[in-house]
């Protein structure tokens, strides 16, 4: 893709993200029932790695970083990485693209996610904090 096309795609992503951010700022997913619920949770009563993201985004937009981390720590930590990847992709910072350089990093992301998925479903004290309902 050419630079110009990448800029346009990035513009579309930013526009979508900011309109979503507006909705998540105004409405609270913990209170409002109109937000989509996790299909995996409905079927299995287990939390998926993404459970709590909507509440975390609401908290983040209100500046409550600690409660955002409590809702879904891994997704909040992944956000800067995703923003960075978008910038790196748009401007072709090849030297700085960490996600396609090191297979160690991609494996740690995979196993980190799997460990997070298991740990947040363990109903014991330190692990319970990783789940979205504490």
């Amino acid at each position: 893709m050419q630079q110009r096309a990448r800029l346009i795609v990035a513009g579309i992503i930013l526009a979508t993200a900011s309109s979503a951010a507006y909705v998540f700022y105004v409405y609270n997913p913990s209170v409002s029932s109109s937000f989509p619920k996790c299909v995996f949770y409905k079927l299995t009563s287990l939390h998926c790695p993404g459970c709590g993201v909507q509440r975390a985004i609401h908290s983040l937009l209100h500046g409550e970083i600690v409660s955002a981390l409590m809702f879904n720590a891994l997704a909040v930590l992944a956000l800067p990485l995703l923003c960075y990847s978008l910038v790196a992709w748009v401007f072709e910072y090849r030297r700085l693209l960490p996600l396609s350089v090191s297979s160690k990093l991609s494996y740690s992301i995979l196993f980190g996610t799997l460990a997070f998925w298991i740990a947040r479903n363990v109903p014991l004290y330190p692990f319970k904090l990783l789940g979205p309902n504490w």
Binding site: V39, L82, S100, S102
Partner: protein, 129 residues
């Protein structure tokens, strides 16, 4: 010649791409089938020949896992995380295959997530009427 980075057509012999500014390979260098080159400085594990750059779709897989709430994103992560290892082992066709699978699973997950969202919006609209 065509720019290996953005695909813009450039005059033969020009040192940099007119569109994206990337340094163009000179004519003497061997061409690679992927015609995309990596240019990383840390050379400790790299042979002298350039490897093709294969997108591992890891970012898409992360997006699918955390923001679509469908466990299919994790499958995409499993495939995506193996791509770079295959590239460093020199197995480019295997790497491409894995990258393709990562892409497919991430797309399924994102598409499924969007479908659920559209379904919810329709339900809410129907309940509001």
């Amino acid at each position: 010649m065509f720019c290996p980075s953005c695909g813009e057509k450039n005059m033969d012999g020009s040192p940099n791409c007119a569109m994206c500014g990337v340094a163009l390979p000179s004519m003497q260098e061997p061409a690679f089938e992927d015609d995309r080159f990596d240019d990383f400085e840390d050379r400790d594990v790299r042979p002298s020949a350039s490897r093709p750059r294969i997108d591992n779709h890891l970012v898409k897989a992360i997006l699918a896992t955390f923001f679509c709430c469908l466990p299919m994103g994790v499958v995409a992560l499993v495939f995506a995380s193996q791509v770079d290892g295959r590239v460093s082992a020199g197995d480019y066709s295997g790497a491409r295959k894995l990258a393709g699978q990562a892409d497919t699973w991430a797309n399924f997950s994102i598409g499924g997530g969007l479908l659920v969202m559209v379904f919810y919006i329709i339900m809410i609209a129907a309940a509001g009427m």
